[in-house]
Every structure is written in C-alpha cells, then in structure tokens.
C-alpha cells in the first residue's frame, strides 16, 4: 500500500517537474511576451507559409 503511494507520488513529481521545465523554457523563449496577438493570429486563414509548403512537399 505504502510503496504504491510512494511510486505515485514520485511519478506525479516527475510529471510535474517536466511541466515546470516546459514552462521555464516557454518563458525564456518569450512565449508570454505577447498576450494579445496570438488569439487573433489563430484566425488567420492562411496557415501555409512557404516553409510549411516545403514540408508538405516532402510528405508527398
């Protein structure tokens, strides 16, 4: 009983730390610098940038 609890706690800590590291990375990368724009950006009806087009070309 106790050991299973411990494993779960350990697991939750690991997953949590993972999420925390991703958060740190996102802050450092500046993901949170613009809190207004992205909600409009997603409405752009034109997601295929030249770079992505190349990617699709590779898929074919």
């Amino acid at each position: 009983m106790l050991s299973s609890t411990l494993i779960l706690i350990f697991l939750s800590l690991c997953i949590g730390t993972g999420a925390w590291l991703i958060f740190l990375w996102a802050v450092k990368k500046g993901e949170f610098d613009d809190m207004e724009g992205p909600k409009y950006r997603m409405l752009d009806d034109d997601p295929v940038s030249p770079a992505e087009e190349d990617d699709h070309a590779d898929d074919d």
Partner: protein, 820 residues
Amino acid sequence: MDRPLPQCDHCRLPIPPADLVTSEHDGKTLNFCCHGCHGVYQLIHGAGLEDFYRRRDWREAGINPGVFERDFDPAEVEPHIRHLNEQQAEIHLLLDGIRCASCVWLIEKVLLRTPGVVDARINYGTHRLRLRFNPQQTDAAGLCRRIARIGYLPRPHTADAVRDRARRQQRSTLIRFGTAAFLSMQLMGYSIALYAGFFQGMGSGSKQIIQLLAALVTTPVVFYCGWPFLNGAWRSLRNRMPNMDLLIALGVLTAYGYSLFAMTRGAEVYFDTAAMIVTLILLGRMLEESARHRAASGIDRLLNLAPQTATRIDGNSEQMVPSSSLHPGDLVLVAPGERFPVDGALAGGSTEIDESALTGEPLPVCKRPGDRISAGTLNLTTAVTLRVTCISEDSFIARIARLVEEAQARRAPIQVLADRVAALFVPLVVSLSLATFIGWWLIGGNPVAGMLNAVAVLVIACPCALGLATPTAVLVATGQAARRGILFRGGDILERTGRLDTVAFDKTGTLTLGVPQVVELLPWRCSSEELLLTAATVEAGSSHPIARGILAAARNRNLPIPLRGGARTIPGQGVAADGPDGEIRVGNRAFQPHQIPAEIVNHGQAASEVHVSKGARYLGCILLTDCLRPEAAEVVDQLHAMGLRTVMLTGDRETSARAIAKQVGIDEIHAGLTPQLKAAWLHQLKATGQQLMMVGDGINDAPALAEAEIGCAMDGSTDIALENSDLVLTRPDLRRLVEAIMLSRRGLAIIRQNLGWAFAYNLVALPLAAAGQLLPIVAAAAMAFSSVCVVGNSLRLARRGPLPPRTQHSPGKVPCSVQP
C-alpha cells in the same frame, strides 16, 4: 500621367490598359482590374448585395497618402541594425498605423514574401516589429519603404536598457509565480492526505514521509518565490515602516518555521498556509507589473512621434542630420506627410498641420509664416521650412513625456487598503503573541509551550484570505466590467474608482463627439440639396474633417455624390474646383469672391461656417459644429445623483466652454488651460484630499490623466491617452463611465466585507491559539472557511446587480464614426 486610367469598379484602383476585364451586368458595362475583382463582384452581385457599392465609403479619413511616399535614408536606419552573423541582421521597428490583428497579419505576410527576409514578428500589444533579414539580399531601408508602401509607418527603434530591465523583471516574476503555482499544486495533494490522516488515522511512518515531501516542495516557494516579499519586509524593518510585505513575510516565515519544528515532534504542519500566501500574492504582483509595463510603452510611443532625423538647410544645400543636433536658429525643411522633428516657427510657406496626435483636435490647423509649430505634428499640404526655436529635448512633446513620467513615478503604490491594515495589524499581532509567550512563561511556568503557542498566534493571525480578499473581488469585478466594455488597469484602480468624489472632463472629443457635423443649411436662392451636393462634389476625396462632415450629411440625404478629382486645396481657406458652370469655391468667408448676403447669419453656436459659390452664383452657407455626445447630459445628471462633483477642464475659450457646460449641466469650468495647468490644477485639488477622476482623450490630456487619481480614456482616444489612463471605456459611450463607477463601488464594498470575513475567522481562532487549545484541524478549517467565504462573496459580483439598465439610443442619434 496625362489621362487618368479607368478605375476598377470593385477595388477602385486604376486599371493598366493591358489588364482590363469587362463584364456586362444589367445592361451596364463594368470594368475590373483583374479576374479576382470580377469574381468578388459576381459573388456580391449574386448574393443581392450590390448595395455595398453604394454604401461603401472611399473617402475615409486616414493619414495623408503623401506620408507613405516618403523615402527612407539608409543612414537613418543603419545605426539601429544589429548584425547577428554574416547571414542575418536584426532590426526593431515601431509601427504607426496598426489598428487590428489584420494589420499584423498583412505586414508579416508581405515581409515574409520579400526575398531576404528571414523572420518578421509583430508584438500586437506594443506594435513593435522584430525583423530578421539577410543583409546580403536586401537592406533595411528598402524593407522600411516596403512597409510604408502598404500603409504603415515604420520607425527604427533600439531597445534601451530601461525597457530591457523591465522585461527581465516581468519574466522573473512570471517564473516565480509559475514555480510557486506548480509547487503549491503538488503540496495540495500532500495536505489533503495529511487532513485525511488526521481523521482516519495514519501510520506515523507515512505521515513523516508526506510531511517531509511537503517541506521539500514548500522550501523553494518560501525562499525562492517569496524572495521579493522577504526582501521587502527586510527593507520595511530597516525603515521602521510596517507594510504588507512585512505581514506576509512574518506569516510565511513563522508558518514555515513552526511547521519544520512541529515535524520533528510529530505534530501537525502548516506548510500549505505558507505556500498559498506566497502564490496568491505573487499573482497580484504579476498583474500589476504588466499594467505598468504597458504604461511605459506609451511614453515610448509619444517620444517617437517626433522623427529622429531632420533635413537641415545649410545655405544652398540640404543635409540629413539627427534631430538632437539641431540648434535654435537652424532652418529645417519638412515635406508634406512628414512629422515636424522639433518645435519651431514657420519660416517659409504656409501649410495645414494635423495636431490631432497631440491635442485630440480633429481639425487641421492652418499655419502661416511666423506661427509656432510643435514637434510631432504632421505636415499635411505643402513643403515648408521651419526655424528651430528650441532643442529637441525641450520640445513640447518631450516636456509632456517628462510630466507623464513624473506623475507615474509619484503614483501611490497599490494595495493602499491592505498596507494600511498591515500597518495597524502587525504591531497588534506581534504584541499579542509576545503577551502569549510572557503569559505562559510567567503564569504557566512553561516557556517552551509559551513559545509554541506564541508562534501559533502569529501563524493563525496572518490571514491567508487577506491574499484572496482583494484579488478575487477585483478579478470578478474586472471581468464583469470587461463584458460591459470597461477596462480597469488593475485592482487598485477598482478600489480607487469606488472612492471617487470628483470627475473632471475634457471638452473636445470627450463631452463632444470630436467630429464636426452639419447642423444647419442656409441656402441662398437655391435648394438646400443643391447647396449640399455642390459642396460635397468638391469636397469628395478630401480627408479634412469638415469635408467628412459635409459628405456624411450628403450621404444621410441619399444624394448621389459623383466621384471626381481636380479639386485644389488652399490652406486655411477652402477648396476650389472647375465645373461646367464656372469655378466652384467651398470655404470660409474670405475665400468667397462674392459679397455674402446679410441674410446669411450664423445665429447658433456653430463653430465653422462653410460658404459655397458656383461661378457667379453664391449658393449659401453650411454650418457645422462639434456636437455634444447625446448621452453627455444624462451622464452628468447621474453622476450628480451619485453624489459626485463634476468639473470641465479645457484648453478652449471660456465662452464656448461655458456654452457646452450649460448644456450638460456641469458645475464648474476652467477654460484656457495648457496641459501643464490641467495637471497642476488636479495636483492642487488632490492635495486637499479629493479623489479625482479625469476623463480625456488627447495627448494634451496625458499629464492630467496620469496625475489624476484615476485617468479615464474612451475608445478613439490617442494612443498616449489610452496608455496613461487607468480606466478605458472600449465603446465611445459615456454611460459606461457611470456603470464603471457603480461597479467599482460595489466591488469596494465586497472587498471590505471580504477583509471583514477574513479577519473575523482569524480573530475567533486567535484566543484558542493563545490559550494553547488550537487544534490543527480548527486552524485548517478556519483558513478554508474564510477562503471559501471570501471567494463566494466575490462571486456575488458576477450576478447582474443594480446596475442601470442600458437605455436605448434615441432614434435621432447621430451615427458615430465607423471604427475600423
């Protein structure tokens, strides 16, 4: 171009002869510039929406097209380029003219399709563009030109040290909060296990392990995330000024220290209290910081209105020099579409300038040789020379920026209420816990138990809910407000708005619509339709506000306005065009070749008269005025009913100010005020302890907005006014102001109740703690109950309360200017 090219019937662009696409519709031949436009026309036509073509307005105001033809000198942009490596260089540009997300989309897409551009990213909030490009394939000046050609004005900009520091600070707060939130979530799991263990029993082994884990996750929360509070508490101790930081640090440290000690003795722990306080209060700090950040970027934008380079005339040659190197007495050339780099007096030529960025005044102002011109205003019609009167640091706009900065720095720190409570509460709690310790030692003869109970008093007294009381109420109230088009720039603003006792209004653009409208037609031996139509024909295509007023009136009467060019603008006088019946002249009295009949008299309060003549005939006069907002009088009335005093502060003349004040019923007016005087007047009133709100829209209101306890700006205000206001009404409707004040009054009441609840629960637990009878579960319950009560109470704000019902617009209401 000798002969104008035919225009596309869809997009109105000239059609190059080779690209003409024609199509027959309802017996009419229509011209299109491409199959795309033809296709769109067919779609619109097919859906039965041809009305679109009649209704759409091509003469929308905007920046003079000449602005976008200006050239960018490589020397102007070069110093701002940062070379990353051989292949990449980076430049930061501040963009003028961004209004919505589509602008962002357009600029990014256009740039990304330009060869040599690696990356283009615009921050929508700050209008800053980060552009990475390959210097071997393209150059920065060319890219600037490209942006200008699609209708936005780039201004090179280097990130300075101050803003860098602010951004690092913002990021570090975000990381601290994120870390605290993550660890507190982990901690919550352990705390629930410990509570369950308290009731159901728990092996001492498991309990120790869980407590150890709890201690493990709490330690970084207290010492890393809570560092700003510990630091602030230390500073407040040294200054002998107990503040909120000290109360937080005291509670957090004692809860943490006591829990560590209790852990070694197998007693109950309070780690969750410590972590929760830190997390919640960090959240509040974070919101406050981002609001401040936005204000700072407003000052940037203001200072950047004046271009950094100027064309100096040295004898016979022209030379591009930095604006800061100009001295009084220098001659500067300013082309139409450029902003004036420094303050000066007009030396040669006369022109019309747009001062709206500075004053909010919509009408272009005519300037003649000798007139003073402020830096940052836009030259509209002709190239002029300017004699510099003061160095750029002392220009009007720089002085305003300095005033704004000063007022912002002087602004009282937030959470005044909590700080005041803390100043009283800290000494009280400390003396109570000391009394507990001494009591147990002297009476009970047990110093160890006394020590523990004294600490328990400290822990229980630090109200966890104090951290929640204000933020939750503020969160709910601001959310409610946002749904009604009212934006509060932070919780302290809500608090302070609730305590207002005086509201000061600017006149132009705030109490009035800021757009001249036709109020009366005085035709002379012709129909009023003919008068209006003749004026509209000549004014068509002009972006002058008076022209827009006349055109709007013509459209309201469904008069067909033919599109035609060839009108000549004579600065400060009017517009003339050649017609079949002779020259049409539309302009002021002096512009008319005819004797104006004595019957044509301006009886009312109209601010502008426009006289119209066609060839040898005088047609009459159109009267325009800047109308009052239809809701202004009602709003002033309601403010009075709420016990508020109203004042009008304006730079306008006393007589026109008095006329407006009489119509809306404002108590007190102060006319002829400069921006400095407005701010000084507010400062004086503030010194007497009055809580003031300033409502305004122009740059000239910015110092006053920053100086006032609460600055309020409406949609359509200048950028700097918006950035400097604490309260923004996102719809141009003054009634929101009344709603905002009512909502914040209710919010303030809720905050007071919350604080009451939070303290009441803790006060009940205090005697128990002092007596050594405090069961851990009672402590936990007190904390949880007070938090639940506080949150529940705050949620009451979300219900539709006794706010004034939205009154319908009266049918006669003049349509507001169309927002893009």
